[in-house]
Symmetry: C3
Subunit: 280 residues, 3 copies
Amino acid sequence: MPEDRPIVALLTDFGVEDAYVGVMKSVIAGRCATTILDISHAVQPQNIAQAAYLLWSAYKYLPERAVTVGIVDPGVGTSRKAVAVRWPRGHFVGPDNGWMSYVIRDFRAQESGAAAGELPRGWEGVELTEPRFWLDPVSDTFHGRDIFAPVAAALVNGTSLSELGSPLASLTLLEIPPPTGGDGSVRGHVIHVDHFGNLITDVPAGFLPERYAVAIGSGTVEGPARSYESPDPLVALVGSSGSLEIAAPGGSAARLIRAAVGDPVSVTSAKKSGGTPTHE
Amino acid sequence: MPEDRPIVALLTDFGVEDAYVGVMKSVIAGRCATTILDISHAVQPQNIAQAAYLLWSAYKYLPERAVTVGIVDPGVGTSRKAVAVRWPRGHFVGPDNGWMSYVIRDFRAQESGAAAGELPRGWEGVELTEPRFWLDPVSDTFHGRDIFAPVAAALVNGTSLSELGSPLASLTLLEIPPPTGGDGSVRGHVIHVDHFGNLITDVPAGFLPERYAVAIGSGTVEGPARSYESPDPLVALVGSSGSLEIAAPGGSAARLIRAAVGDPVSVTSAKKSGGTPTHE
Amino acid sequence: MPEDRPIVALLTDFGVEDAYVGVMKSVIAGRCATTILDISHAVQPQNIAQAAYLLWSAYKYLPERAVTVGIVDPGVGTSRKAVAVRWPRGHFVGPDNGWMSYVIRDFRAQESGAAAGELPRGWEGVELTEPRFWLDPVSDTFHGRDIFAPVAAALVNGTSLSELGSPLASLTLLEIPPPTGGDGSVRGHVIHVDHFGNLITDVPAGFLPERYAVAIGSGTVEGPARSYESPDPLVALVGSSGSLEIAAPGGSAARLIRAAVGDPVSVTSAKKSGGTPTHE
């Protein structure tokens, strides 16, 4: 019993102090009647990598056929392309600057021999070149309002991708260093610090041994914990995005150990507990 | 002419920096077409009492049959129960940790002889035990997404409470010290500091004499004022939630007198004005 | 394919920490099924001029027939009027304190001989005097909830303006000093600093020479740039609202040159570039 029409989801670095988000929603609502969701508008200004992470943490949960508009767009008004992309469960609309990188990496992981930037199998994209779908005039500084919002509404209304522009063979990708390792040890990075100060890493659950020790900054923490509730100052567990997360029960891990995005984490196998207690 | 379907209202401590709220809305919108409202997502992390106050300040205004999802959930993944509750005007869905306490107190105030924690008359609750209504798999750290959002959508779609789990006789309640007093004097507490710096207390309008003096911190202020507009640095009045409120016209009372949640306030009867001016 | 019913757009200084916005939406959603948009809730407390600017930056993009509710209301509960106004593309509802001033100035610019405060041609307004459309009781401190939200819902549901109150001949206007100038030089002011630290001025695009130099604070910047991407520390360009804007590529112009709302800017004609480079 979801809505008949695709919903629109928005992800921007616009903040909420100005009318920018409201104006985009106004343009969309004036052209199609559908639910408009906020993924987030608190991406740090111009931080494409953060937008890419947030999209990745959300994309599996988007309703079928959702039109997701992502606007972190330091290159607005330059030669960077404006694109619309169809992936198996909906559309992405925004600048071609890498904000879909983590999602594309997930899809590319199942393929082999694809060239960097090439669209994953089953995806299709166009460069937005048809001004008849845009507002008129188009400003140099707010394509979210003038191009991406009306294009999103056109997709909701059933416009086909091919009407919107010319085919696109590749997309700009961010360089995302994957976690590395072997022999029971993994090296990764903090890729996001959330509202609670939880440190979210790029080490996927599948890379973790049954019991492990995580070294981050000057501290070490053993895992996995099963929840955020613990007498310990820090816990390590698999977070809701499916990767290793370090949290401080009742507090902020980021503040407690002064960690930030980009900090390295190192995971090694730890002795199993549950048997004879080891001397410690 | 409101919507046919129940709307969903969300109250969380998730903030808006991450995709957590957007993901919950995505799960809901993917399962039912209805309006999704934000009560607030700015509850201080893990502050159940603040969520309880905010729900209380809003509940009388919720549309009929609204499904209100409250997620301030430090115990996620532990043995705390997940519950859905029907009250006379809708449903509450979330962890069983006290976030409905102020609302329940309102309902219990009209009863006598009820045991602590017992559901008020006319309420019904279940512990959520039926995984077929949840996402699969269920994470240990994000039941808002994996359990509460899909259960809320099920309620919107007409699923009955009894399908969702097993009956619940009692709910966890916060200990809320009521205001005390007599002989024209009342002692209460600041229970919320709002966006404007207004100090909202737990002293209900009905406890206030016609004219009164409020002692808070090192200051005193006479009331009631009729509005926030005044040449005085501080005013005391009955706020929009129906309890005593201290405000600083054009500024922040919290900053002006350095008051915070939990601070005691004391109200005493003051001489009536309007007759012969008293010597002062 | 927009919605049949008018949408509601909200602009307030309520912030998002409290349930104030959620309560207003609850009142509206309980009375009419329509899309409710946020223009912004981050107007500085009691800053009517900022609300007026934000409304102006958004109003041309509002869907046809939108009911826009603006609540920056330091005078709530005093004798300030509560009003509803029909303008050619929808309705405005809120206190009569100047928050529509920039929009009215746009409309008045096309007229001559109108008295200050008089409604522009084609506009119609009423003072809200009919309590049967309000919540009962009406608080002294939250007319957004008790008067403006239910009146907005009534307008969405087709209630005519004349049922809501008595005709209004004039509206309170803010004094907005217009930019001044002549002989190729213009003096204006910073009227908004946005989320990115961009300095938005009141100097309209039409007042700018082909090439120009902007003096602001201790700095000077030549324009126009075509985008925010530049090796220069500062760029000047026509922003998305159609007026002169100063930005710092990849950073915050407000922080870089310590500029704020109200600061004067002075624009003078600059030599054309594109020919032989001039000695500099």
